[in-house]
């Protein structure tokens, strides 16, 4: 890593992540004397998250479209690519807190630490996205995953929650080891952990060989675990089912988005070269196709809605990985031919499609989990498809919201999910890999079947008699309404959001720091 080193102004560049860390530490304090645990700290955490979101948006507005500030000798960059993902993480965190504010008091488990850990995890995600050095990216990842392990096992009296935490911890630690091993091999082959320097070594032809390729393969395997892509997905359904619903919503959206952002940064900045792309692009193709097929087909068999959403999220990772394929294929055969003379267009389109999908999927998936949380009653987990029976008669607005979320997950027009899929599929078609898009479309049809099963239960089956009606708190209502509102907004007026995603994508490799 070049350079000297620390200037006080660097702390300003660190801004959003630093604000969250400070906020998280402050959130830990009020429980020491608050009469009811979490009474002060939980709203305080929500306030910090919202304030940081405002800060991030403010930084975006004032940021220079052609340059981005770096800090700590270039190992941290606050560009629009990072800012876009920061917004996604914060939205996911805020909505997850909304779900938790409704659910945790029911379990009598409201504490400040829970919300502080969400803030810590979000800060970790920000460092993953902004890191230009493998070490920073890895430490951000650790910050995120360590917090997530604890949050998964947070309901200690629940066997499922403890089991989820244990599985997540063991497989997570294992995959972190694989990832770190891959990073160390890449460091060994290129002599640097700094992404532009790694690319420099690749361009100069001084890196390469079997160990380097092995490092790249291990890197993909490690990230494969983190995003739960097939064949590294086995932990996901148990963890998503057992974890508190707010946390499931959080790690299945923001957690995956962070890992994808780090992958994009590492592959598009550091490992960008036709030889190394010949290693990782085919692997990502396999991951994408396998995830789409296996995730969606297995989801057909599930009766627990949280589990069904877990498998469906494996399928959605497959869709998003198609975007990475489109980005990378520019370097290998098909995309290079398709792109002859069109410069960076495909690159930007592919990255933008991933950005927009991450945003869309966050609203959609968190919204769906919020409805699951709303169904939770004293006698009822609210997680089975039968629990949705007759929901349209009992709570028509909640059923309508769930309908919107499910249609968006399936990718039906006029919802945000359609826009997301349209651009992802468009990216691979532009990259001349239409067969991959065909798999995606076919699997979307398959997914529509199991999403519609829930819709059928809600609208066409009678409600069971004497069912207890759990009251829905206003904070959960607001969560559902916000998610639904944005899905319809993006679905009907996608252009402003697409523009923002495109600006974010343009920043992924700025010449100002790429050299």
């Amino acid at each position: 890593m070049p350079g000297p080193v620390f200037q006080p102004a660097d702390l300003l560049t660190l801004g959003p992540g630093l604000a969250l860390i400070i906020g998280a530490i402050l959130v830990l304090i009020p429980d020491l004397w608050a009469r009811r645990r979490g009474a002060v700290s939980a709203p305080l955490a929500l306030l910090f998250a919202v304030a940081t979101l405002a800060l991030v948006v403010g930084i975006w507005v004032r940021s220079d479209p052609g340059a981005a500030p770096t800090a700590f000798g270039g190992s941290f960059v606050l560009d629009r690519f990072a800012l876009f993902f920061d917004v996604v993480f914060l939205i996911s965190a805020i909505l997850a807190m909304g779900i938790s504010l409704h659910l945790l008091p029911q379990d009598d488990a409201q504490t400040g630490e829970y919300y502080a850990l969400i803030l810590f995890a979000t800060a970790g995600m920000m460092f993953m996205t902004s890191g230009l050095d493998l070490l920073v990216i890895w430490l951000g990842l650790e910050l995120m995953t360590l917090s997530s392990y604890v949050l998964c096992g947070y309901l200690r009296t629940s066997r499922r929650s403890s089991e989820a935490a244990l599985k997540y911890f063991l497989l997570g630690a294992f995959s972190t080891g694989i990832l770190l091993y891959g990073m160390s091999l890449i460091y060994g082959a290129t002599g640097s952990t700094y992404l532009p320097a790694i690319r420099g070594a690749l361009d100069a032809g001084t890196a390469g060989g079997g160990l380097f390729s092995l490092g790249v393969v291990l890197l993909i395997a490690g990230f494969g675990f983190k995003v739960a892509a097939v064949p590294f997905h086995q932990w996901a359904p148990d963890v998503y089912e057992g974890a508190p619903t707010g946390i499931t919503a959080f790690i299945s959206t923001a957690g995956k988005a962070a890992a994808l952002a780090a992958m994009l940064r590492i592959f598009a900045v550091g490992l960008w070269g036709s030889q190394v792309a010949a290693v990782w692009v085919p692997l990502v193709v396999v991951l994408a196709a396998a995830s789409m097929i296996l995730g969606n087909v297995t989801a057909l068999l599930q009766t627990n809605v949280k589990r069904m959403l877990a498998y469906s999220s494996i399928g959605h990772v497959g869709y998003i990985l198609m975007g990475l394929v489109a980005v990378g294929s520019q370097l290998t055969g098909s995309g290079a031919r398709a792109m002859a003379g069109r410069g960076d267009d495909l690159f930007r389109f592919g990255v933008a499609s991933i950005l927009i999908y991450a945003l869309v999927y966050t609203f959609t998936n968190v919204g769906a989990f919020a409805v699951v949380a709303a169904l939770r009653g004293r006698a009822l987990a609210g997680e089975n498809v039968e629990d949705f029976a007759g929901l349209a008669h009992r709570r028509p607005l909640l059923a309508l919201a769930m309908l919107v979320f499910l249609l968006s997950l399936a990718g039906i027009p006029a919802t945000a999910g359609f826009i997301g899929k349209w651009y992802l599929f468009g990216a691979v078609i532009r990259a001349d890999m239409a067969w991959l898009a065909v798999i995606g479309v076919v699997m979307s049809v398959v997914s529509a079947y199991y999403y519609l099963r829930v819709v059928v239960a809600m609208y066409m089956r009678p409600a069971p008699e004497g069912e207890e009606q759990a009251p829905v708190s206003s904070v959960l209502t607001a969560t559902v309404a916000m998610a639904m509102g944005f899905i319809l907004l993006i679905g009907v007026f996608p252009q402003p959001f697409l523009d923002l995603a495109s600006q974010g994508a343009a920043h992924l490799r700025l010449p100002s720091w790429l050299g």
Partner: protein, 177 residues
């Protein structure tokens, strides 16, 4: 200098033998601590103070505590069910022999044929780049300087990760009030 080397080496080998021959797992673990310290001494002789310090902190400290935790959790003080079969013993000897041969071969390939005392001030500064403090200054200093300049951000992030680990451990382990 060679005398110190041979004394440390003797301690390391003898204590390592004690580790594998003691029937009591806790005793084995204690002998292992001695092995770690002896090896740390060997590192210092090689001018690798940093690795020596990490050896003591991480292995003799952290890893050892972990070992003892596991031994006490599964109640392994006295291994009764462990069969000392001839097959298992000969397998262990063969593996150890292979290890010895491959280490010897590695030294031979690297051209190391004898133990030589280091030049004053440690190894020549081959690993240090231009403008960086020479390794001759002692590598603990070099590591410290790099950690607090080039890798300041990762260094600070580690502290946040540790904080989360502490908070998480308390959250998962506390008793319900």
């Amino acid at each position: 200098m060679p005398l110190i080397f041979y004394m440390l080496a003797l301690v390391a080998v003898v204590s390592a033998l004690m580790v594998v021959t003691r029937p009591n797992a806790v005793h084995s673990a204690m002998w292992l601590v001695l092995t770690f310290f002896a090896v740390a001494g060997l590192y210092i002789l090689q001018g690798a103070e940093y690795i020596a310090a990490v050896q003591v902190l991480v292995y003799a400290g952290g890893i050892m505590v972990l070992f003892l935790f596991v031994i006490m959790l599964v109640n392994l003080e006295q291994v009764d069910g462990f069969v000392r079969s001839r097959m298992r013993l000969s397998g262990a000897v063969v593996l150890a022999g292979l290890m010895l041969v491959s280490v010897g071969a590695a030294f031979r390939l690297a051209g190391v044929t004898q133990v030589v005392p280091l030049p004053d001030g440690g190894l020549p500064g081959s690993l240090a780049g231009p403008g960086e403090p020479s390794l001759a200054a002692g590598n603990l200093e070099v590591v410290g300087t790099i950690l607090l300049t080039s890798y300041l951000l990762p260094f600070e992030l580690v502290s946040v990760v540790l904080l989360v680990a502490v908070v998480g451990a308390i959250v998962l382990a506390r008793r319900e009030a």
